[in-house]
Symmetry: C2
Subunit: 438 residues, 2 copies
């Protein structure tokens, strides 16, 4: 059979990695797919740039649209990043009846509903395994592997930069800014690290995971998002003493009254597998009603790990070329007409346990006052640790773990504690999840 | 569209669980698959037995062949176990042009080559996700999710009973027989536990994983298999002191001169995720050349976890109903005409590091003699621990870790040490793997 001809848009890290892996494993891949998969065209920013891959045999162009719509291209692989131009190009490729593979989480999170509708109208597939957790086949696992389940919740470490920072802070007792600078020097973090450390990148991925888990349209703008930049080595140490580790998690949880979609630093039991996922690695824990807890672990980024997911999508597309479009795996796991508009709960309604750390006067009655304010809000305390003041100091650290409570209530209680005259600072509050069933 | 009609053969734990999950999640599953999936027929041993599921609406029969070949059944699900009758029934169903789903690892490991050839000849699919690691979608991950990779090796905890026993031995310091009795009382182990504790069940699964990883026919009879019944609490304790945990692993490794397929107790670094998979849980670590290490974790057995995999296979089959048979995912991941006869290396050729434990006379020159015998075989020593003799005892435990060596060499050296007059017992030897890259 004729090779399937690929047009790549973007020949940077992931694009170059994809060319390299397709070349190196071409025989192995053809033995699986039953056909050769060959990159024939590539759109680049400039024709003479340095490449990590061999481009001989590739038709290079600076006109991305010409690749996206080229009559000799069967499948378009979008690896340019960004959302506006990428959206236009993907829609053009779809309009030309081409299947599309993308690693672009922002594109799918922000424009996925429009893109999938266009793909459906044109009978083509837009595959995006590489958009979430790099090389881990998590989209496939949830959309297909767990298709018999009602997914109750999932929780994932889906940003490698953030996990690298939290791991180094814990293992080496360093502070956030210090480790961030190292991550930047190593190329794990951008010079503007906002997307990674403030949770936006993870939220793009979580929006996608939530939709395929629960069968709902993408609703990125309704996620609750908190970053990790306020975490101190003290918090990590206190969490450890209480038997927890701090991870930046994306959590999607189904409730009777809607779904929670939230990205935030989270204390999780130190013994659980997710707490032991370190460095730049990613992992997603998925709780299905039939299967129970399953976990998927691997590299969340990197040229070849991401290429692995891109190529898996290409092989899937090749295999489904003769499949009636209505019988292919639906983009968001559920048939397009079976997606439901589930309410995404506002942050004030999100329920979890809490870790609170405050610096207070070392005086009689302070603990009683804090406890009274929490009790008045109906918040039960699970554990309290008061740290001995340093010699001569008149301030102490008070750490509390609460039982589960809606966020609106804890925020009110925190505001009232912060209004007291015995409190030194703003209160550090982080959510605590036991990931029961895992 | 008309529902897809399922004929179940076997209505025990997994069969009943499958009926229950299909009923409970029927709407969710239809929203994904685009069609209802309905159990219409079931073959049972006797019509009046106790059931864990509601059988109203099911046509029950004691004639399994009538279900396997029934004109009103679209897909046959074989959950009866055993290999002879199951093989006959599956071949009958295939001959009638029916797709088949099975959870039967022994059937696939022993008769898979014949069954897949028959399925190919009749243009149908035989799906077997539930045969390996229960609810974990590991077959899908390797066959599809990692299709861009050359798989270098994989290592899995793929028998829950054995992992339960080793976990309890470690956590509670109990001995093998004691925990085995508990496992039997809990229903985790059979009254004849041979299949689980001697590694045969794990070997069935490993044969399947090896074939789909490396693109070779099933060759169960050529596996190297060792059980866990000789492990003592002392071994677990010494391993722990050296920074390792003992797990019963199935390992498939590609080498230049063939592949290793082996099931045996293994010391692995205590820090790695696989070492922290406890109780009856399963996990498989897969090393691909592009993606690096990925890990898949979940319940390896149980009614509903296994049903989860069975139903995922059913949804896959429904989705591929309109796919040209030659374009479907090949049974063994590679196109049938692209499978290669790779040499499965005999146990003497398998290479790994070793843990050796021996009881020797507490006398000068003993350590030197043991070290000399190993050195004469070209075996390097990585670590030695000699345990202080109890007060008044004249015997001590000598524990050694070696560098990597072919098994033939270490066995020769062990025989020579055991022939010495200072040695008390047979030497306990276990393989050590660092699972590099993970």
């Amino acid at each position: 059979m004729k090779p399937v001809r690929i047009g790549l848009i973007g020949l940077g890290t992931v694009g170059g990695g994809t060319v390299n892996v397709l070349a190196r494993n071409s025989e192995e891949i053809a033995r699986r797919a039953g056909r050769q998969i060959t990159v024939t065209h590539a759109a680049v920013r400039n024709l003479s740039g340095a490449r990590i891959c061999d481009v001989s045999g590739l038709e290079l162009s600076t006109d991305a649209a010409s690749v996206a719509t080229h009559p000799d291209v069967d499948v378009v692989v979008e690896l340019m990043g960004g959302t506006d131009e990428a959206r236009d190009l993907v829609l053009q490729a779809i309009a030309c009846g081409k299947h599309v593979v993308t690693a672009n989480k922002a594109l799918i999170a922000l424009h996925g509903n429009e893109i999938f509708a266009a793909a459906q109208a044109h009978g083509v597939t837009v595959a995006f395994e590489a958009a979430v957790a790099g090389g881990i086949p998590i989209i496939k696992a949830i959309r297909e592997g767990l298709a018999g389940n009602r997914i109750d919740w999932l929780a994932g470490i889906i940003n490698g930069t953030g996990n690298f920072i939290l791991t180094a802070m814990r293992e080496q007792g360093r502070d956030f800014d210090d480790v961030l600078r190292e991550a930047q020097a190593l190329g794990y973090a951008e010079s503007d690290p906002t997307f990674d450390v403030e949770g936006i990148d993870a939220a793009h991925k979580l929006a996608i995971l939530g939709s395929i888990a629960f069968g709902m349209p993408l609703e990125f703008e309704r996620l609750t998002i908190e970053g990790i930049s306020a975490i101190t080595p003290l918090d990590i140490e206190y969490a450890e003493e209480l038997g927890y580790r701090i991870k930046h998690l994306g959590i999607a949880r189904r409730r009777a009254d809607g779904v929670e979609l939230r990205v935030h630093p989270t204390l999780i039991p130190a013994r659980c597998l997710l707490a032991n996922v370190n460095g730049v690695m990613n992992a997603v824990l998925v709780q299905g009603d039939a299967v129970g807890a399953t976990l998927y672990y691997g590299a969340g980024a990197g040229a070849e790990a991401t290429a692995s997911a891109v190529i898996a999508d290409l092989v899937d597309i090749v295999r489904a070329l003769t499949t009636d479009p209505g019988n292919r795996v639906p983009h968001l796991a559920f048939q397009p007409d079976a997606l439901t508009d589930v309410a995404v709960l506002p942050s004030s309604e999100i329920e979890s346990a809490y870790y609170l750390r405050m610096t207070v006067e070392d005086a009689p009655g302070v603990l009683a006052s804090v406890a009274r304010i929490l009790a008045d809000s109906g918040i039960s305390i699970e554990a309290v640790v008061q740290k001995e003041p340093a010699h001569g100091a008149t301030r102490v650290s008070l750490i509390m773990l609460t039982h589960r409570v809606r966020e609106g209530l804890i925020n009110d209680a925190i505001a009232r504690i912060e209004a007291s005259d015995y409190i030194e600072n703003t209160i550090m509050r982080m959510r605590v999840e036991t990931l029961d069933g895992a």
